[in-house]
Each structure stands twice: as structure tokens, then as C-alpha cells.
């Protein structure tokens, strides 16, 4: 029972990180029809910011917001430089562009920083743990869960109360009509990228605080997982992205914890097999977007 509680906390922490990443992908996809595979490199940029801040002796409470800000600025720059010129292009054009951006950034990290994994200085408190009865919970796990919940509340408020957030929902549904209201395409799309950068930045801080290292390919695996989570939840649906992220987190953690030893090496295929199984019954994901086929800018 204690093991179960402990693994559930782990699943919430990992699932929450996937959920934030999947949300970042979904926000951009719902508005532009672009699956941004360079989303992971936003994480890596945050990770390196944390690393350099550590080297320079910047206090952690300052370096975390700086790392998140770096991802937001990088996301907005990515849109302006790489994706705006291909806006309105086919889905394939935008997808290939995002691969190109990801690869260029990875090569830049390898050549300008290091091809090897670099240590990131983290405060002591993150590696400590709390004892609740017989359950031992890492502070970094608690931090991840709290940060995820706060981000989800923030995003919910933003999308439902703020004018720009409502405009983003409107544009995701019918871009042409949104423009008739005077909603500018550039504003909404830059806003979507800024939000996705914010989510990637927070996810990166959580990711790095479990590992204390950063490497040029750091963002690849979590974003691939987030992409699976977004599909599982229903591509383009924000609620679906959150549901898919948590679902994937639970599948992975429970399989790692409770699968008999002799099956452990098949953990990943079994996990993905479960994802395929869910999609067989719900091909559009758990909470499908109602506007999947809608025309984007």
C-alpha cells in the first residue's frame, strides 16, 4: 500500500510534466495546425539557462524565472523567425520546418556548449524527501505536482477570463471569423507560442530538478512522450492534453513499479501497446477536439 501511494505520487509528478508539455503542443496546434517538434529544444534552452545561472552563482529563486523567461522568448523568436514565413503552408511544410528548427538548435547546443551532459547545480532541498508515515516522498516530486497544479489553474483562468485567452479559443475554432472581430492573427499566434514557451520552461525546470543535468538532446524524449500524450488525449484539445499527459505518466510509472522483473525490459512496448489499445477504442483520443478539421490561418 505504501509503495502504491509512493508510486502514485511519482506518477502524478511525471504525468504533470507530460501534461504541461502536451498542453504546450496542443495550444499551438489548436491555433495553427502545427505540431512543433522543436518544443523540446525550448526545454533544453531552459535547462542550459539553469546551468549557466548555477555556474554564475545566481540564486535558484532567480534562475528559475530566468530559465522560464528564456523558453518564452525563444518560443516567440521561433515563431517570428521560422514559423511565420511558412504560416498557411501545409501541415507537412510546418512539421518539416519544426524538425529543421529542432535539429539546428541541437547542433548549436552541441557545438557551442557541449555534446556531453552537463551538471546543473540544484539547491539541497530538492534532493531531500519528506516522510509521511511509511511513505517517503521527494521534495522535487511535491514541487512538480504543485507547479503543475498552479500552471493548470493559471492556464484555465487565462483561457477563460482574459481577452487574449478567449480570442485564442475563438481563433482555434474559426480563424477567419476571429479576424472579422478585429483579432489579429499575429497577436493570437505569438500569444500561443508564448504560452507554449511558458509551459515548456516550467516543464524543463521540473525535468531538470529530477536529473540535475542537461544535454543537447534533453528535450527530445519528453516531447516525444508529450506528443504521444497529446494524441492519446485528443490532438488539439487542451483538456485532452492534460488527461493524456497524466494517463501516460501513470502507465509508465505503474509499469515500472509493478511489472514483474522478467517483463521489465518490455516496459516501453507494453506501455505504448496500452496507448494503441486506448486509441483503437477512441481513435480521436480520450477527449477529442471538436475543431480538429477546422481551417487554420
Amino acid at each position: 500500500m505504501d509503495l502504491f501511494v509512493q508510486q502514485t505520487v511519482n506518477a502524478l509528478a511525471l504525468g504533470g510534466t507530460y501534461a504541461l508539455l502536451a498542453l504546450g503542443l496542443a495550444v499551438v496546434f489548436s491555433i495553427m495546425g502545427l505540431i512543433n517538434f522543436a518544443h523540446g529544444e525550448l526545454m533544453t534552452i531552459s535547462g542550459y539557462t539553469l546551468m549557466y545561472c548555477g555556474i554564475l552563482g545566481v540564486p535558484f529563486v532567480v534562475s528559475v524565472p530566468l530559465a522560464i523567461l528564456a523558453a518564452v522568448l525563444a518560443a516567440v523568436a521561433m515563431e517570428r523567425i521560422a514559423f511565420r514565413p511558412v504560416r498557411g503552408g501545409s501541415g507537412a511544410t510546418m512539421l518539416i520546418t519544426s524538425f529543421a528548427v529542432a535539429m539546428i538548435l541541437q547542433v548549436l547546443f552541441q557545438n557551442l556548449i557541449s555534446a556531453r551532459s552537463q551538471a546543473v547545480a540544484l539547491p539541497q532541498i530538492l534532493s531531500q524527501s519528506v516522510h509521511l508515515g511509511n511513505v517517503i516522498i521527494g521534495v522535487n516530486k511535491i514541487a512538480a505536482i504543485v507547479a503543475t497544479v498552479l500552471m493548470l489553474i493559471f492556464l484555465d483562468r487565462f483561457m477563460n477570463r482574459q481577452k487574449t485567452g478567449i480570442a485564442m479559443r475563438a481563433a482555434a475554432e474559426d480563424f477567419a471569423v476571429a479576424r472579422l472581430m478585429g483579432i489579429r492573427a499575429n497577436t493570437v499566434i505569438a500569444g500561443a507560442f508564448a504560452i507554449s514557451g511558458l509551459l515548456a520552461g516550467v516543464a524543463a525546470v521540473l525535468w531538470v530538478s529530477q536529473r540535475a543535468s542537461v544535454d543537447p538532446l534533453m528535450g527530445f524524449t519528453p516531447v516525444l512522450k508529450a506528443f504521444i500524450a497529446a494524441i492519446l488525449g485528443g490532438l488539439g484539445s487542451l483538456r485532452g492534453a492534460v488527461a493524456g499527459g497524466f494517463m501516460l505518466g501513470f502507465i509508465e510509472v505503474y509499469l515500472a513499479a509493478f511489472l514483474p522483473q522478467e517483463f521489465q525490459e518490455f516496459r516501453e512496448p507494453i506501455g505504448l501497446g496500452l496507448v494503441v489499445l486506448i486509441l483503437l477504442f477512441r481513435p480521436n483520443g480520450m477527449i477529442p477536439s471538436r475543431f480538429l478539421g477546422s481551417i487554420k490561418v
Binding site: K163, I166, A167, R169, A170, E173, D174, A176, V177, A178, R179, L180, M181, G182, I183, R184, A185, R290, F291
Partner: protein
């Protein structure tokens, strides 16, 4: 009595690839008028309206609004100038509440007083929208959605509102209500351009009209004149 029209188009052409939807039409709408565009399906009425507001590109020709050349301006630039369109098929944001839809209509209005006045006017014209303001627009009936689409377009305080097929797919009783509303809008000094299939209703509220066929204007005149001309019938029956 000559006055500068609020909106005019000269030699307007619209193409979709090899297909020419609008072939060099001339039109004008004066301040305070209700002008209707009539014609069979595929005559180019909606294409004309969409080109005026920048939703589809103008291949050739010029569009002037309030003496300014707006030919190549994007729709989001025209709304703050006072020109907007309530598109065909209503196209309300189904996943937004009624209130949020209206709030989006006023997106371009920065002046608080003007925004408050718009809320008052729209809720006054459509009490049902006030009643349903917390409801998702997708759950409204067709007639209510059309009211919301018109209300949403009115939220920006337009000087010229273009309505594309406001009666499409609505029950006859609801169509009557929509046209009553159009008559009310005239009392509130909103200039209107209406594309409509319901010829009798349209000519009843309109001052003037253009009859289109195969992308051209084949007849124009006052509503009274158009009611009496054969060109109207001919345009619908496809005789050029």
C-alpha cells in the same frame, strides 16, 4: 444630390484559381442605406462580400471605404474602421459562451463607453441573448445563433454591417423576426449590405439592390424598380 458613398467597389474581380467568381462589378453603398444583393446560387454574391472585407483577395479592382483605399487590407484592420461582416452560416464560436462571443465582437473597441453602449444595444435588441449569456453558443437554436452572429457583429459599432444570408436555414417565423430586426437596425442608423435568397423579404427592407448572375451585376435599381423588372426573375432562372 451627389454624395460620396460610404463604400464603393470599382471593377471588382475575384478568382479562386482558374475559376472567376466575380467579373468586374461596380457597386456603392451610401450612408444610412440598406442595399441588397440578389441572385441565384453561385452568382458571386458571397464572394463579393468576402472580397469587400478582405476575407478573399481582390484579384483586380479597387474598394473604397469612407474615401480610403481598403482593397488589400486584412479583415482585422477593417473592423476598427467600422466595416464588418456577419458571415454566411452564422459561424458563432460554439465552444464560447454567448457572452464570450459578444465580448469577442467588441475585441477591437478600446473605448469603455463605446463598449458599454454596444452591450446595452445588443442586449436591448436581443433580450434572449442576455437570458442565455452563460450558455455555450453551440447549444443555441439556429435562430438564436443568427441573432448572436448579428449581435456579435454589432458589438464593434460598425458604420457598415454586411450580412451574408441572414435567413439561411431558418424557420419562416424566425426569418420574419430577423427581418424585423433589420428594420430596427435602420432606425439605429446602421448602414447595411445584405446578401439574401429570400427576395421578397429583402426587397421589402432594402432601399436599393443589385441583381447578380454569373459574377456580373445584371440589374440595379431601387427596391421598387427591381420588384417590377424581369431581370430579377431572369437572373434566378439563369437566363442572361
Amino acid at each position: 444630390m451627389t454624395r460620396v458613398p460610404l463604400l464603393s467597389a470599382q471593377g471588382l474581380n475575384v478568382r479562386y484559381g482558374a475559376i472567376q467568381a466575380v467579373r468586374g462589378i461596380e457597386l456603392s453603398i451610401n450612408e444610412g442605406e440598406i442595399v441588397t444583393f440578389l441572385g441565384a446560387n453561385g452568382a458571386g454574391k458571397s464572394s463579393t462580400l468576402n472580397a469587400l472585407v478582405g476575407l478573399v483577395p481582390v484579384a483586380e479592382g479597387r474598394v473604397l471605404f469612407d474615401d480610403q483605399d481598403i482593397t488589400d487590407l486584412a479583415p482585422e484592420r477593417l473592423t476598427p474602421m467600422g466595416l464588418t461582416l456577419a458571415p454566411e452560416g452564422r459561424r458563432v464560436f460554439g465552444g464560447l459562451t454567448v457572452e464570450e462571443n459578444l465580448r469577442m465582437g467588441a475585441y477591437a473597441v478600446n473605448d469603455v463607453d463605446r463598449r458599454m453602449a454596444a452591450w446595452d444595444m445588443v442586449y436591448d435588441l436581443f433580450p434572449i441573448l442576455h437570458e442565455r449569456r452563460k450558455q455555450f453558443a453551440g447549444t443555441l437554436s439556429g435562430g438564436q445563433q443568427q441573432m448572436l452572429a448579428i449581435g456579435r457583429a454589432l458589438m464593434c459599432g460598425p458604420r457598415l454591417l454586411l450580412l451574408d444570408e441572414p435567413s439561411l436555414g431558418l424557420a419562416p417565423k424566425i426569418v420574419g423576426q430577423i427581418f424585423d430586426l433589420i428594420a430596427l437596425l435602420r432606425e439605429r442608423d446602421v448602414t447595411l449590405g445584405i446578401v439574401e435568397q429570400n427576395v421578397a423579404m429583402a426587397l421589402e427592407v432594402a432601399d436599393r439592390g443589385y441583381v447578380m448572375a454569373a459574377g456580373r451585376v445584371v440589374a440595379t435599381g431601387t427596391a421598387e424598380e427591381l420588384r417590377q423588372t424581369d431581370r430579377l426573375r431572369a437572373a434566378y432562372l439563369g437566363e442572361e
